[in-house]
Amino acid sequence: MHMHKLEKVWLIIGVVTLIAFLSTVGYQAFASGHAPPSDLTKLDPEKVHETEPFDEPGLKQIGDNEYELVMVLESFGFTPHEIEIPQGATVKFIVTSVDVVHGFEIAGTRVNMMVTPGHVNSMTYKFNEKGEYLILCNEYCGVGHHMMSASLEVK
């Protein structure tokens, strides 16, 4: 197939850029541990309240300024919905849904994950800056979806 010389140059530049880009993305995912949240843990969505760790949702200290925050999402709220942590804390969020699909987002950060019933999702984030953070549901979950939020204070 005939291809114009300049088009070949154009495509070669494009493909090389693409390979460089995908290598960066792959390196971040596999070598730097920045893969998107992909927890494979499963549970019965009708037995969330009896299943560990969701039988006791809340904040637990697990190390030096390291915490685990277990949260249960249901239309239209988070349990717990008011959380306080010290500045510099590293928090592992562990979440699930008892009903429909929800989203777990902390506005203005990269904390963002889908929460689907029957599955547990999780990710870790370090809070370097003080402030009132807003946790919100970013997946439509019904008529009260825009009320579904929680607050996280970093002191």
Partner: protein, 542 residues
């Protein structure tokens, strides 16, 4: 064009225009609600009109417009449809129309406030899913008519290359047929039995995976007809030539290969799918950049060659020679120009990590209002300005052309304001698909207000532009002066070059497409089925 086939295309356009009229009004209402300029009457729920907006714009307007355009393109280049094919096309039209009317009624009755992505376990009335199935099965009848026309043409013209626009129409439908397997499977095998009550539970991860197997190629189903106009029609409008017939065909085939086995990039933040498989699909997603770069090169090569042949000098002198005052060129050109930032936004969305900042924020809404709402819509506007008068035996007069330019420029301005505000406030975390809220006066949420106002300004300009568009369409259908408006079909720069035969060997390309799909999906889907948690019963939270 013969009366019977014109009527077929026009029937599709009338439905498309009705859909964009109602859907556009609902879009305007959403921007006004979110910016706190109005409140909806208690009989209308925000999420209900959001559902209707999505279904009417993304499913009904696009699909009907595309079929109207594909029929006209095929008839223009291969002759009229036989009675049998035309009957199949009409059966398809009526199935789609019944599906659309039924779907809209169910939504307006408040029985399906599940948004147009209908994620389980929110459970709509079974008729909503049946309506969606009718629309899709209806398209199969139309696809049959067009593909049969192509096959018959090839039998009668052995050894000749098929008309480029027909090849592209068939490629678009091949993509559509392979893609809809996913949504038909989930709707027919999962949603319908579950919503009727034959089964109690639904596998959430499976339904989402099948949906997104369809959801991404769906956007290419919208885009490829726009590409048909860019590759084949725009060169003729500017008086130039198609840069390369073979490379255009190859680009369409690559879109079939690389737009389907990639749905996981919409599910990057989901549990239950390992991040290795997500990454594999991210890599396949980005392969689509190659045919996109080929398209960009071919189009700008056509423009430059034409501009230079008209005496354009220097590096960019040819730009001035292009017919900027012809809406048939200007509208699709503005669509192409917008596709450059829109495509860059798409790259961000599909990036394994950057997605985390923008996923499910209103940035994403801003993104697809640039791609489908601007790039595709502007190209479709450009097409309709000559195609409607062509089909109705009327002409686009100079005065109407002037109004049409005004309409498309206003659309661009409105969309840039609205979509720009969506992108910026999305970066601050403003979620998509959310009724106006301050989250109990949380300081983070109150800072989004100015952007919401900008969205309403953009939305209002878009609505004014839409009214002008519909007025022009009514005028071009029933009142414009009678005459012969051209259906422009471009010719190749060098007609002597025969495309390699492999480009029309569909078995090869469909075979590779399925091989890639099986590679990208088999193991994850087996895992999703075999290691599924207990399924979900339905919820009706509206």
């Amino acid at each position: 064009m013969n009366k019977l086939d014109s009527r077929l295309s026009m029937a599709h356009f009338y439905i498309a225009f009705t859909a964009i009229a109602i859907g556009g009004l609902f879009g305007l209402l959403q921007t006004l609600v979110r910016s706190e300029m109005i409140t909806l009457p208690s009989s209308l729920n925000y999420y209900q009109i959001l559902t209707a907006h999505g279904v009417l714009m993304a499913i009904v307007f696009t699909t009907f417009f595309i079929f109207g355009f594909l029929y006209a393109s095929v008839v223009r280049t291969t002759g009229e449809l036989s009675c049998g094919k035309r009957r199949a096309a009409w059966i398809g039209f009526w199935m789609m129309t019944v599906g659309m009317v039924l779907g809209v009624i169910i939504i307006m009755l408040g029985e399906a406030t599940v948004l147009y992505t209908f994620y389980a376990p929110l459970e709509a009335h079974p008729l909503f899913y049946i309506a969606l199935a009718l629309i899709i099965v209806g398209t199969y009848f139309g696809s049959f008519a067009i593909i049969k026309q192509y096959n018959d043409w090839r039998k009668q013209h052995k050894g000749e290359k098929s008309p480029l626009i027909v090849f592209m129409a068939v490629a678009t439908l091949v993509l559509w047929l392979i893609a809809t397997i996913g949504v038909v499977a989930t709707v027919v095998l999962q949603f319908i039995p579950w919503s009727i009550g034959w089964v109690d539970e639904i596998n959430i991860a499976l339904s989402r995976t099948l949906f997104w197997y369809f959801g991404h190629p769906l956007v290419y189903f919208w885009l490829l007809p726009a590409y048909m106009a860019w590759y084949v029609i725009v060169p003729k409008i500017i008086g130039g030539k198609i840069f390369s017939d073979s490379l255009a065909r190859l680009a369409f085939l690559l879109f079939i290969l690389f737009s389907i086995p990639v749905g996981f990039h919409h599910q990057l933040l989901e549990p239950g799918i390992s991040h290795e498989w997500k990454f594999i699909q991210v890599v396949l997603t980005f392969a689509v950049i190659i045919p996109s770069l080929m398209t960009a090169f071919a189009l700008f090569a056509t423009f430059e060659m034409r501009g230079r042949s008209l005496g354009g000098k220097g590096l960019f002198g040819w730009v001035k020679k292009l017919p900027w005052k012809d809406v048939r060129f200007l509208a699709p050109f503005m669509g192409m120009a917008i596709f450059i930032p829109a495509g860059a936004g798409g790259i961000i969305n599909a990036s394994n990590q950057m997605n985390q900042v923008v996923h499910n924020t209103i940035w994403v809404t801003g993104h697809f209002h640039l791609t489908i709402g601007a790039t595709v819509a502007l190209t479709f506007f450009g097409i309709s300005y000559w195609l409607i008068p062509h089909l109705k035996g009327r002409v686009l007069t100079k005065q109407l052309n002037g109004l049409a330019i005004y309409q498309s420029v206003l659309w661009v301005v409105g969309m840039l304001i609205m979509s720009g505000a969506m992108h910026f406030s999305g970066l601050l975390g403003n979620p998509r698909r959310t009724q106006v809220t301050t989250y109990f006066d949380h300081s983070v949420a109150t800072s989004w207000g100015a952007y919401e106002t900008a969205m309403a300004v953009g939305g209002s300009l878009l609505f004014i532009s839409l009214i002008l568009y519909l007025t022009l369409m009514i005028n071009l259908s029933f009142f414009a002066p009678k005459g012969q408006e051209e259906f422009p079909i471009g010719e190749e720069a060098d007609e002597s070059i025969q495309p390699p035969a492999i480009l029309e060997n569909w078995k090869v390309w469909i075979g590779i497409a399925f091989a890639l799909i099986l590679f990208a999906y088999t193991i994850p889907i087996i895992d999703i089925i075999q290691n599924a948690p207990p399924g979900s019963k339905g919820f009706k939270f509206w």
